[in-house]
C-alpha cells in the first residue's frame, strides 16, 4: 500500500498515549490536529538555536530567523499554488484572517447601506460573525445560501442571492460539521460576473485535500495552522496580489509601515502591510514544517486515505440501529468528518461515554449553530479523521456507540 498509516502514526508521539486506561482514539482532528515530531523539532530548533526577531535586525540571529520565517511563507505559497510568496499573509488563525478580510475589504469597497454580503447557513461562526459585524458597522445587508436536507449548499437561488448589489461572497470550502465539500465554481463565476469579491474559508480543505488557489477562481482564502499538523497561533490569509495591494491595513503598528511621523503614516506593501507587530515566528516555521510533512506524503494520498476512512465510517455508523447521520450519506463530495445523533441520547452524554473508552469526539454546536438549528437539534456528535486515522479506530467508535446505547437504553 502506498499510504502507510502505521509509519505515519509513529511520527505522532501522542497517539501512543492512553486515555482513561484505553489507547487514545483521536477522532477530533477537524477541531485541532495532532502534530508530528518533525513539526515540533523544527520549532524547537528555531527557538533554541536561531531565535531572533524578524525583519528588524541586521545581526546573524535576526537574519537566520527572518530567513526561516520567509522560507516558511514560500513553502506555504507553493503548497496552495500561490503565484508568489507575497500573496501569503500570516495571521494568528483563520478567524483573524477572515476578520482582516471583512474589515479591510469592507473599507476597500466602501461598503454601505444597500450593499449586500452573501454567506451561507453552513458557515463556521468565524465566517458569520465578522460579516454580521461588518453589516452592523456599515448598514449593509447580510444574505445567505441555505442548506439542503442532504446537507449540501442550496444553490437554487444563486442568481437572486448574488446580484449586482452583492459586494462580497464568503463561503466555506468544506463544512466543519457536515463534511460537505462545496464545489464553488458556479458561485465564484457568478461572483465574478457581478463584480463581487469572493473569500473561501478553506480551514477544513487545505489540511485534507490538494487546494490550488489558481484553480479556485476566488480572491481570498483563509486557513489555520493547528488543523493541518502545525502549531496553534498561526493562520493564513491568501489573496491575489492585485486584491491584497488594493486593501488598506487592518491591524497596525510595528513592521507594517513604510514611514511614520506623529502626523501621518504610510504603509508597506503586502504581505508586510497586514502583519503588524512581531509575528508568530516559530509558529510560521512550524507550519512550514507541517507543509513539508504533508507534501512529502502527497495531498492526493492524504485525501484518498481519508476518503477510505470516511467510507468505512459512514458504513459502520449506518449499520448501527438508532444512529442518524447528518450531511451527505456517501463519501462522494464530502470530507472525513461525520456528524451524527444517537437516538434519545444527548451528544454531551455520547461524548462522555466515548471519552471513557478513550475515543475522543467533539460534541456541541461545533461553532456552527445555524447548521444545528437547520437540522432541528441543539447539538451533534462529530467524529473527524486525518491522515493518522485507522479503520480500527472507527471500529472502536462503533463499539463505543453500542456502549452508549447500553448505558442509556439498557
Amino acid at each position: 500500500m502506498s499510504f502507510d498509516v502505521a509509519k505515519v502514526r509513529a511520527d505522532f508521539p501522542i497517539l501512543s498515549r492512553e486515555v482513561n486506561g484505553h489507547p487514545l482514539v483521536y477522532l477530533d482532528s477537524a477541531n485541532t490536529s495532532q502534530k508530528p515530531r518533525q513539526v515540533l523539532d523544527a520549532m524547537r530548533e528555531l527557538q533554541e538555536r536561531h531565535n531572533g526577531n524578524v525583519s528588524r535586525s541586521v545581526h546573524t540571529l535576526g537574519t537566520e530567523a527572518t530567513s526561516a520565517y520567509e522560507h516558511a511563507r514560500a513553502k506555504v505559497a507553493a503548497f496552495i499554488g500561490a503565484a508568489s510568496a507575497d500573496e501569503v499573509v500570516f495571521t494568528k488563525n483563520s478567524t483573524e484572517a477572515i476578520n482582516l478580510a471583512a474589515h479591510s475589504v469592507g473599507r476597500m469597497l466602501e461598503i454601505g447601506p444597500g450593499d449586500e454580503i452573501v454567506i451561507s447557513e453552513m458557515e463556521h461562526h468565524s465566517n458569520i460573525v465578522p460579516w454580521q459585524m461588518l453589516c452592523e458597522r456599515t448598514g449593509a445587508t447580510l444574505r445567505w445560501f441555505g442548506v439542503t436536507d442532504e446537507g449540501r449548499l442550496d444553490e437554487s437561488r444563486l442568481h437572486d442571492l448574488v446580484n449586482e448589489r452583492t459586494k462580497i461572497v464568503s463561503v466555506v470550502h468544506v463544512s466543519n460539521i457536515l463534511g460537505t465539500v462545496n464545489d464553488v465554481a458556479r458561485i465564484a463565476d457568478r461572483a465574478r460576473q457581478v463584480g463581487a469579491r469572493m473569500l473561501l474559508d478553506c480551514s477544513q480543505s487545505v489540511p485534507h485535500m490538494p487546494v490550488d488557489v489558481a484553480a479556485l477562481g476566488v480572491d481570498l482564502i483563509a486557513f489555520t495552522g493547528h488543523k493541518m499538523l502545525g502549531p496553534t497561533g498561526i493562520g493564513v490569509l491568501w489573496g491575489r496580489s492585485a486584491v491584497l495591494e488594493a486593501m488598506p491595513p487592518f491591524l497596525s503598528g510595528g513592521s507594517m509601515i513604510e514611514t511614520v511621523t506623529m502626523e501621518r503614516t504610510t504603509y508597506a506593501m503586502p504581505p508586510a502591510r497586514f502583519e503588524a507587530g512581531t509575528p508568530p515566528i516559530a509558529e510560521a516555521v512550524g507550519l512550514g514544517a507541517a507543509v513539508d510533512y504533508l507534501s512529502a506524503l502527497g495531498m492526493d494520498a492524504v485525501h484518498r486515505h481519508e476518503r477510505e476512512i470516511a467510507a468505512y465510517a459512514l458504513k459502520s455508523l449506518a449499520d448501527i440501529d438508532g444512529v442518524r447521520i447528518f450531511g451527505p450519506a456517501t463519501p462522494e463530495g464530502r470530507g472525513g468528518t461525520v456528524s451524527f445523533a444517537v437516538d434519545g441520547v444527548h451528544p454531551h452524554d455520547v461524548g462522555q461515554i466515548l471519552d471513557d473508552l478513550g475515543v475522543e469526539v467533539r460534541v456541541g454546536h461545533h461553532c456552527a449553530r445555524p447548521v444545528c438549528a437547520r437540522f432541528g437539534v441543539p447539538a451533534m456528535t462529530r467524529a473527524s479523521f486525518y491522515l493518522y486515522t485507522t479503520t480500527a479506530e472507527i471500529d472502536a467508535l462503533a463499539q463505543g456507540i453500542e456502549q452508549v446505547k447500553k448505558v442509556f437504553n439498557p
Partner: protein
C-alpha cells in the same frame, strides 16, 4: 468510570423528569445558555416558591439536575433554599473532595460524581444558576417583604 457519573438516579430523573414543563402563573423567569454545548434552560418561579417549572434542551446531567432541583426546592423557605443551593454548589465545585449530605441534598447526592468532570459541572449548575436569577426576579428569596418587581429577562451562564 462513567458509572459514577451516570448513576441510576440521574438516568431516572433524565428519563422521567419531575415537574417538567412551563406553567402559569409565575413571577420570575430566566433563560440560561451554555455557550459551549448549546444547552438551554428556562425556569419560572412563583413568589412563594410553591411552583418551580422549567423546560429546556440539554444533556442528561443538566436535565436531571433540573428535575432534582425542582424536587428539592419547590415549596421551601428562602432560608432552606439558600442552604440547599450552597450545598449543591459546594458539591459541584469540590472536585470530588466534598462528601454530600443526603439529608440536605436528597437525590442531589447522585451528582457527587459529576464534580470530577470539570466540563460537566457547568451542565449540572445550569438550572441552578437560572433558578437563582428567576427567583431574584420573582423576589422569592427576599427575607423581608421588599420584593423586587417581577419580570422576564435573558442571561448567559458563561
Amino acid at each position: 468510570m462513567t458509572d459514577q457519573l451516570y448513576q441510576e438516579i440521574i438516568l431516572d430523573h433524565y428519563k422521567n423528569p419531575h415537574g417538567r414543563g412551563l406553567r402559569e402563573p409565575f413571577a420570575g423567569e430566566a433563560h440560561h445558555v451554555n455557550p459551549t454545548c448549546g444547552d438551554e434552560i428556562t425556569i419560572r418561579v412563583t413568589p412563594d416558591l410553591s411552583d418551580i417549572s422549567y423546560d429546556g434542551v440539554g444533556c442528561s446531567i443538566s436535565q436531571a439536575s433540573a428535575s432534582v432541583m425542582h424536587e428539592l426546592l419547590t415549596g421551601r423557605t428562602p432560608e432552606q433554599v439558600r442552604v440547599i443551593e450552597e450545598a449543591f454548589v459546594a458539591l459541584m465545585q469540590g472536585r470530588g473532595q466534598v462528601e454530600p449530605d443526603e439529608d440536605v441534598l436528597g437525590d442531589g447526592v447522585a451528582f457527587a460524581g459529576v464534580a470530577r468532570y470539570p466540563a460537566r459541572v457547568k451542565c449540572a449548575l445550569l438550572p441552578w444558576m437560572a433558578f437563582k436569577d428567576a427567583a431574584a426576579r420573582a423576589g422569592a428569596l427576599a427575607e423581608s417583604g421588599d420584593r423586587q418587581t417581577a419580570g422576564t429577562s435573558k442571561g448567559a451562564n458563561s
